[in-house]
């Protein structure tokens, strides 16, 4: 039972699982991402899903660029 896992738990699991990670990468909308998390047994809020999808865009995934160093 992993229904109480949050996004940090997801990172812990996904770093060791290409399938889980790739599944996350493919999600392109907050709604499908939230459903993805629910299906996999993680509780991630709608706000966080929106934030994650927005962050994907902000980091330039579509352009394939490398973000500048901090």
């Amino acid at each position: 039972m992993n229904g109480n896992k949050n996004f940090i738990d997801f990172i812990i699991d996904a770093k060791d699982s290409a399938d889980l990670y790739d599944g996350f990468v493919k999600m392109s909308s907050p709604k499908t991402l939230e459903e993805f998390f629910k299906l996999k047994g993680y509780v991630v809020s709608s706000d966080d899903c929106e934030k994650l999808i927005r962050a994907k865009s902000d980091f330039g995934i579509e352009e394939g660029r490398i973000p500048p160093a901090y």
Binding site: Y21, D48, I61, P67
Partner: protein
Amino acid sequence: MASTDSSRRLSIEVTKRCNSSCIHCFAGASEKGSTEIAYEVLKNIIIDGADAGYRHLHLTGGEPLLHGDIFEVIDKALEKGYQTILLNTNGMLLNGHMCQKLAQYPELTISVSLEGSEALHDRFRGNGTYQRAIKGLETGLEAGLEIIIFTIVCKSLLPDLPRFADQLFTRFQGIKYLTLIRLIDSAPINSIFGKELLRPDDFLNLVRAISLLNLYGWPTTLLNDPLINLVARMLAISWIPESKELHQQGNLMVMADRSLSVSHTSDAYCGQYGSASIENVLSYDPYRQAVAPDKLICPACQYAQICHDNGLLRPVDGHALGLTDSYFCKAVLDLMAT
């Protein structure tokens, strides 16, 4: 003639003295260390560096805050036009008085070393050091210092890395970002910590973790390891900030014994400071060879072009891991190809 590369950094190992004796220290510093650069010499290095066009200074050690003239060094650097100064510390000397003085310099960024949990930190750095570092971190943030965290990534940390980062950014909200450093296979580490070195599959796990932490809003990077950008690109993700080669043209380090090199971990000897100007050292053959793209190993590798395109100019040694061909980078890329 001064270089126009505005990003290059002059590093000075101001002292080998340290108030800790970390068993993974790649600088070879310790409580018994006595080699130190006197202020008069430091002043000349700073002036010489400024004349050579450096605008970014890196003060390291040892524990640089143990140097009795460290504030004079900072003052001189700013007077000579350096725009940013990065100072590495273990955080244990960041008391109220020290932090108030450091906070007077907006150009200063302080890196505080934390190695994960208290148990792991103290295992690497000595009993009681975690609590002292945390106290220093809290005091520094309260004083308004710009602080980044340096953390060595090893086998023991990797499973807990996401939680460590989450707790770090949640508890210490003023931290600017988390800089991870892959544990390297120097001889003393190999004998003590061989089992702690990341293997190629661990590296892929690290890439995924860092990318997700960045997406979540916990800014995390891997120091001087462009292999991570290459892997991220091959995974078609781009949520990891650029990580440049440490041994890149322009970067120079003056060691506490005044020898010149590219970094703590470089075996390139580029002479002694004082025998020539810094500008001249940058054109010496040993220096140019140390920062030049590899011509012996990489050209025969099937990944040479993609590595070059992504800023990885030299093979990453994996000898201590017992890899078949001893190159960590190739083993990682082979793993991705399977």
